[in-house]
Symmetry: C2
Subunit: 424 residues, 2 copies
């Protein structure tokens, strides 16, 4: 029976029963953190062999540069070739950064603010800069634009990607809109992969602002949870076909391939974009960690090997996603008090509670020892207008811990929902 169909007495009884379950959980003294998309220990162990690649004492890049020394600002050639395959660009359309793609994105926004984009006015000199933000989305994207004082406009997500009618209309009519944040493959947190039509419409965008850029954070491009993944279209290829190749900045990293703390981040873009950005790169750094670049290239050898490596990740984490979805299906679906995504890749399950319940659920979980991503975090300014979206990150806990956490989570959803319905 749906909770919404219960009368007050039934609801009160349901709430009382759920409260008892909740109190029992509280007494367990759990302490679990599901707030971030952290890989678990078994996943980290998969890449430990990478630390032995220099045992032969050979530190030379293929162009004769010692990777231990300074130099090669935009990356060693073999890393450019290797990672170009990963994000779908040519090896002269890529910059290799340090361990953080977020840092690369921050830097790209910052360059636009200080120096403008391809000769355009520096964004810092404009009265107003706006970004489109598909929601729910990645909290750290929104924090970057918030830092620079950008006005963020929510764009609803659909099962095929952001609402493209709205995107096209807004960028055409307002030249203060300078960018959009996208996670096109297995979006954070919804796990939505943009349809071919969506990618093509992005590639063909004709914004009023010539310096508009799509920030295409392809963080989960090889992070599949099925054997036969559906890949999104290559946006740079599509943009070239549309005569629009400067419109996109592509980002990626190995943070969830090798080590979150010590991966390699990359940015792909048209030659014109990358050449312009490289001119600023040497102002802020002499060179990134080329030892780690070569470590990655030597460890994997080929892109195919990296894809095989990702299947080992899948074997570890896919059962965790299954557990989350199975629990929700069993405990929440019959009550009609939530919907969620069943992602085929990425790192999250996006849960939508009844409106007005997300904060309460997260608080109830926290009080019983399970930390979730803060309610609201998936929206700009930390404000979910419906207070309903919760990002679940199932990868880090063990299956046993996750089972406990999910048992608690559904109890909290039930309790918050009953409270809400009783108060109406």
């Amino acid at each position: 029976m749906f909770l919404s169909e219960m009368n007050k007495d039934q609801l009160a009884a349901f709430k009382k029963e759920t409260e008892a379950q909740y109190e029992q959980f509280k007494s367990l003294g759990l302490s679990l953190n599901m707030s971030r998309g952290n890989p678990c220990r078994e996943q980290l162990e998969l890449s430990v062999g990478m630390l032995d690649v220099f045992d032969d004492g050979d530190f030379m890049s293929e162009n004769g540069v010692d990777v231990r020394n300074y130099g090669m600002l935009d990356g060693i050639p073999e890393a450019k070739k290797f990672f170009a395959d990963m994000i779908g660009v040519h090896s002269d359309e890529i910059i290799i950064f340090g361990n953080s793609s977020l840092n690369a994105m921050f830097w790209a926004v910052q360059c636009a603010f200080n120096k403008g984009v391809l000769g355009g006015t520096p964004w810092s000199k404009l009265d107003k800069v706006k970004f489109l933000c598909p929601v729910p989305g990645y909290d750290r994207h929104f924090k970057v634009t918030e830092f620079f004082g950008v006005e963020m406009i929510n764009i609803p997500m659909t099962p095929t990607g952001p609402d493209m009618d709205m995107v096209e209309r807004l960028v055409a009519e307002d030249d203060s809109i300078k960018g959009i944040w996208c996670v096109p493959q297995y979006s954070n947190p919804d796990g939505i992969s943009y349809s071919d039509e969506t990618v093509r419409r992005f590639a063909a965008l004709k914004p009023a602002a010539k310096d508009f850029r799509i920030f295409w954070d392809n963080a989960y491009c090889i992070h599949h949870l099925t054997e036969s993944p559906k890949l999104i279209l290559n946006i740079l290829d599509e943009a070239k076909k549309a005569g629009n190749e400067n419109i996109v900045y592509i980002f990626g990293s190995t943070s969830k391939v090798t080590f979150p703390g010590a991966g390699v981040a990359v940015m792909g873009a048209s030659r014109e974009n990358t050449e312009a950005l490289k001119k600023f790169l040497g102002i802020s750094i002499i060179s990134y960690d080329k030892m780690n670049q070569l470590r990655h290239v030597k460890f994997f050898g080929t892109f195919d090997n990296m894809r095989e490596h990702m299947k080992k990740h899948m074997a570890i984490i896919a059962p965790k996603f299954e557990l989350v979805c199975k629990t929700l299906k069993k405990e929440i679906a019959p009550l009609g008090i939530g919907t969620w995504t069943e992602p085929e890749g990425g790192y999250f399950v996006s849960f939508n509670a009844l409106n007005g319940c997300a904060k309460r659920i997260v608080q109830l979980c926290a009080d019983a020892g399970v930390t979730l991503t803060g309610a609201g975090a998936t929206f700009p300014y930390n404000t979910d207008p419906d207070d309903r979206n919760i990002r679940l990150a199932p990868t880090y806990p063990s299956l046993d811990e996750l089972r406990k956490a999910m048992e608690l989570f559904v109890i909290c959803v039930k309790l918050a929902s009953a409270e809400k319905l009783l108060a109406e």
Copy 2:
């Protein structure tokens, strides 16, 4: 005989003879790069053992965090303790960055521009921001402030550090002066160590701008070329004594201790400064490479061991500095056509040619296959008003290569000097 005392005929004969030597050198087809302060291969080999510290499979920081994963934004505790000793602060007065102190400096300037310093107006909102730049100085410092549109004011260096009368006067009278770039120990390129009085006067500065900061780039704090180095005073200690502890940001790195491409960079400052800056840090990155932090701590164990390690560097590079100074003393001093520093640490010998000769000397060297740091690079806007300063970086070439390069260098100095004197 000084070249300036020669008559025209003597000068012409000297020039002809030097030209012949130069042409002979040109025919050798040399190809040497002395433009940057790069360690040589033997120096890089000193730290290769660092790559084996994880052979035991233990990746845990002392607080139980797996360094391979996300987290510990401002550094792992053992790295904070270890590097606090290196730059002379407490372990709660330090932030651990990635592989680049330049990147940390750029970031600190950028935070000031976007968010202001300790609640002050963001520098980007001010009509004018000025920095004091002791000259000659480090080109990459000047490029950072140039990037942000800062007006740079040259401050002459003296044997005890920057001209402090001028520094004190300027900061007291002009509240648009927001900072100063300093390399206090073995300054780049002069190799000057600031006297105790200079450090105390810096520590006690009373600028009109409350958000003025000393950017104290202690890049060469343990990079000695003598057995009994004279250490500069601890500026944060002195600033605390003067009730002025917020005035300084201290930077350092292991770029020239372990690997230039894969060292660890750090920033030290008062608790109030570091707490304020940490609030911005998480916007641009999730965490720096903690594996590399722990690699360093495990490899060295103690600060004393790191100091011993630096003696191995000294054994390799001190003979190179001797060779440079000996060659200059033998070939240039008798002619009175140049002065230079004899540094007791750091990475450079600063050579001052006759006014108007530096660009020509660097060009002559380049034409014969030896690349030096560009003339002018040691001044803001790449403009040496006297066109006389050349930064020599002797560490990278082998002794044999360096001998050849210095033979060429002195020939070029002689030739350019003769050309100049003949044209007068």
